[in-house]
């Protein structure tokens, strides 16, 4: 008796969902290049997710409005809300996949891990600019992943390089306060390696999602008095950490955030107390007066077409990063068009483009982002392109650079990347490509 009900309900749900999926398919147009946008505009990570999403979408809009698309091919896009949850991110990916997307930028290391498996079978590019899995730099194993601009392993190495400048690290203590997720755990192997090499002790202090409760962590810091604290947080966790640091009297000058823990939403809630807080700047900081930003104003915001609710957001750290993510996606499309002709590109062609990016100084200037991006060059062995960062400091009202350029120690990282990638390949039964044959 009960069986009947079960099936009726399932059938109804099935029919409803099927109808929706078909309707969505019909809307997809084939004369445009579709770029899906995975965002989180709600939930505990929204303060950081919103500016990134606005920057990403604004750049796509700008390319359409200013240049009439990429070499005449318009870009279409659709947002999908993930809420930074892995299962919802996978659902979004499946939902948007039917529209023949060329590249996904999930803005979540957890979602990146889940999608890495799927993009290989589905032939879709996964661009993770400044996040994602560090070992995916090895393009021989990770054919579809592109951690462009920098990975967390670079970030960890650069932070250690920076604090080392202030004196030998021998016998020192460094605490890593991290978001207890793949994102936060990503730098641990490199920091452990460096701890052995430089002779410092690493204190690992996880903070559970979403990170509003950190009292215990910071009491531990008060007890242990580490020489430096590296903050690997995201969303509300960052501003909470800065406030807690103040509460236990930990000096802010000894605190360093990774590039996801060094943006306006992190320091603004802590107000004046955050003054002097340092963080990594991934290639760029809060530049807001470059040609690209003027174009944003001229083509979008002056006409009321901007995505951000307040145009002050244009040029904030995370806005810029979202914009650069979209820009690198578009550059990959453009590179592909140079080889395959100026039409609609398939994901396979865009993958070739992302693997052959060659953004030199002249191109950076033409893009209007001079100073926000260093020349980068990707290849089959190196899916990252460039691994440089600076430190920037919050002076109570804005970010300013307080160090020169650092380049991550590739000699140290490369063997680790290869080892980790080979382990992945062995687990998944992937045969690595021969990069010498890939041209």
């Amino acid at each position: 008796m009960k069986g009947k009900l079960r099936y009726k309900a399932a059938a109804l749900a099935l029919a409803a969902a099927g109808g929706l999926a078909w309707a969505a398919d019909a809307l997809a147009q084939s004369k445009e290049i579709f770029v899906p946008v995975l965002v989180y505009r709600t939930g505990p990570y929204a303060p950081n997710g919103v500016p990134w999403a606005d920057g990403f979408v604004d750049y796509l809009k700008l390319v359409n409005a200013r240049d009439g698309g990429v070499n005449g091919v318009k870009l279409s896009y659709e947002e999908c809300e993930t809420g930074y949850a892995t299962d919802r991110g996978v659902e979004c990916y499946e939902r948007l996949k039917s529209k023949h997307p060329v590249a996904f930028s999930p803005l979540s290391t957890g979602i990146t891990y889940a999608l890495t498996d799927k993009v290989d079978a589905d032939h879709i590019v996964l661009i993770t600019a400044g996040y994602g899995r560090a070992d995916s730099v090895d393009g021989a194993v990770f054919k579809w992943n592109f951690p462009l601009m920098g990975t967390y392993w670079d970030g960890a190495d650069i932070l250690v390089q920076h604090v080392k400048k202030k004196g030998s690290l021998k016998g020192k203590k460094i605490a890593l306060v991290y978001h207890d997720s793949p994102y936060g755990k990503e730098p641990i192997p490199v920091l452990e390696e460096l701890a052995k090499k430089e002779g410092f002790t690493l204190l690992k202090l996880p903070v559970t999602h979403p990170g509003v409760e950190q009292k215990a962590t910071w009491l531990q810091i008060r007890q242990q008095r580490p020489d430096y604290v590296f903050l690997w947080g995201w969303g509300v966790m960052n501003s909470t950490a800065i406030k807690e640091a103040i509460a236990v009297g930990y000096p802010r000058l000894q605190m360093y955030g990774v590039w996801w823990a060094a943006a306006e939403p992190d320091v603004l809630p802590a107000e004046q107390a955050a003054k002097g807080y340092n963080g990594l700047a991934l290639e760029h900081s809060a530049e807001n007066n470059l040609p690209i930003h003027k174009d944003m104003m001229k083509f979008l915001y002056d006409k009321g077409k901007g995505t951000a609710a307040d145009k002050k957001e244009v040029g904030q750290v995370l806005y810029n990063r979202g914009m650069l993510s979209a820009m690198l996606t578009v550059e990959a499309i453009r590179t592909a068009q140079a080889k395959y002709g100026k039409g609609v590109m398939t994901a396979d062609q865009v993958r070739w483009g992302a693997e052959h990016l060659n953004i030199d100084k002249a191109r950076i200037k033409a893009l209007g982002v001079e100073g926000m991006l260093q020349p980068m060059h990707t290849s089959c062995e190196d899916h990252e392109g460039v691994r440089m960062a600076r430190i920037h400091t919050w002076d109570g009202s804005e970010w300013s650079y307080t160090s020169g350029w650092y380049t991550a120690d590739y000699k140290l990282l490369r063997p680790m990347i290869e080892q980790s990638a080979m382990k992945y390949a062995a687990e998944k039964g992937i045969k690595p490509r021969d990069c010498k044959k890939e041209m």
């Binding site: 008796m1 009960k2 069986g3 009947k4 009900l5 079960r6 099936y7 009726k8 309900a9 399932a10 059938a11 749900a13 099935l14 409803a16 969902a17 099927g18 109808g19 929706l20 999926a21 078909w22 969505a24 398919d25 965002v39 505009r41 709600t42 919103v50 999403a53 659709e78 999908c80 809300e81 809420g83 892995t86 299962d87 996978v90 659902e91 499946e94 939902r95 996949k97 039917s98 290391t109 957890g110 891990y113 889940a114 890495t116 498996d117 899995r133 207890d180 997720s181 793949p182 755990k185 990503e186 641990i188 192997p189 996880p206 999602h209 980790s420 992945y424 687990e427 998944k428 039964g429």
Partner: protein, 354 residues
């Protein structure tokens, strides 16, 4: 008129006790299974398979498992996410350490690992009841979360704590593609749902229900609480463990402990409360409600072509979803399964209600 059992005489005990005593039900169930196995693979889209049907089926299985414990045996548990994680990580470790093992064997062994852990954490239930038991199972959840996040061996010393499933080897064939995965999950869920249904109809199921209704009385009529409660924990954990392994291997592909955190436990508990405690169909209905409804709500405005921002859609989704939960619980506190049962009663009398 159509749905009526007039003229269907039961002349043997067997025919009276069968799973679906009414002819129309039997026909419908068989037709539906034929549809699910034979027709759906040809008509559904990739999205439907991967994002809706597969997670729905897997979480239905987990809900059945939890329903055995909470709905049939009356032992409140908040550790379901943890037991799913045991299944997932056990399957992962078996699959990468013994790569030649058949996937089905891996899943059954993973279920058994979960059974052992579940029975172990079920021991306090002999002394603790109700809300207090919920708290001890919550401890199980946190302990298991901690173990999988901190003990490197479980994740094969993965640096990020995220692990990914090896290729799904099934009798020399690698299960790939949404249709194959759907059929694989559907087969497992059908078999296990049948097992669950029969267990709850049998002697063991009746002893669970006796425990639930009044444990002292059950003891007086000769049911051993130790046996009844621990078997409920064991069987429940077996189902939940297999669901966890499926969730990790088939749906997510790569996962971190966060995929099985306490929110998953709550979600499953809400599924069976909304679907109907002590009902196998209720598990399916509840899973459908929790899995499919938010997705449908999220896509509804876009499908109609109404331009609303992503943030607004998500807020509306949460609001409508919350309102619907309240509505259904007020309309029928005993769950969706009860609503359907009432509907069927009405249908039996139609068109001549008295």
């Amino acid at each position: 008129m159509i749905y009526r059992e007039t003229g269907q005489f039961k002349t043997t005990y067997a025919s009276d006790q069968q799973l679906f005593p009414i002819l129309q039900d039997r026909i419908f169930v068989i037709a539906f299974l034929v549809f699910a196995f034979g027709a759906v693979p040809f008509i559904a889209t990739d999205y439907l398979f991967r994002a809706i049907l597969t997670p729905f089926l897997i979480l239905s299985l987990a809900a059945i498992g939890l329903n055995i414990l909470v709905g049939y045996c009356g032992q409140l548990s908040l550790g379901t996410g943890g037991f799913m994680a045991v299944g997932a990580y056990a399957a992962y470790n078996l699959a990468i350490r013994l790569p030649s093992l058949n996937l089905l064997v891996v899943f059954v062994l993973a279920g058994l690992c979960s059974t052992v852990v579940g029975a172990l954490f079920g021991i306090p239930s002999l002394r603790i009841k109700g809300f207090y038991l919920a708290v001890t199972t919550l401890a199980a959840q946190f302990f298991l979360d901690w173990a999988f996040a901190r003990v490197g061996w479980f994740t094969n010393y993965s640096s990020s704590g995220s692990v990914s499933a090896p290729p799904l080897l099934f009798f020399g064939h690698v299960i790939e593609g949404p249709v194959e995965k759907y059929l694989f999950v559907l087969s497992i869920v059908c078999v296990l749902a049948l097992v669950a249904k029969n267990l709850t109809r049998g002697a063991i199921g009746r002893s669970w229900m006796a425990m639930r209704d009044m444990d002292v009385a059950a003891e007086v009529i000769g049911i051993r609480p130790l046996y009844a409660k621990l078997t409920a924990f064991a069987v429940s954990s077996f189902f939940v463990g297999i669901a966890g392994a499926l969730w990790a291997f088939i749906y997510l592909g790569a996962w971190e402990p966060l995929a099985f955190d306490v929110n998953r436990s709550f979600e499953l508990l809400f599924m069976i409360i909304i679907g109907g405690l002590g009902s196998i169909v209720g598990s399916f209905l509840g899973a459908a409600f929790i899995v499919i409804l938010p997705l449908a709500l999220n896509q509804f405005p876009t499908a109609l072509g109404i331009p609303i921002s992503t943030a607004t859609i998500s807020e509306i989704e949460l609001m409508v979803f919350g309102a619907l939960i309240v509505f259904f619980l007020i309309a029928e506190p005993r769950g969706l399964a009860r609503l359907w049962a009432i509907g069927k009663e009405k249908l039996r009398l139609w068109p001549f209600p008295h």
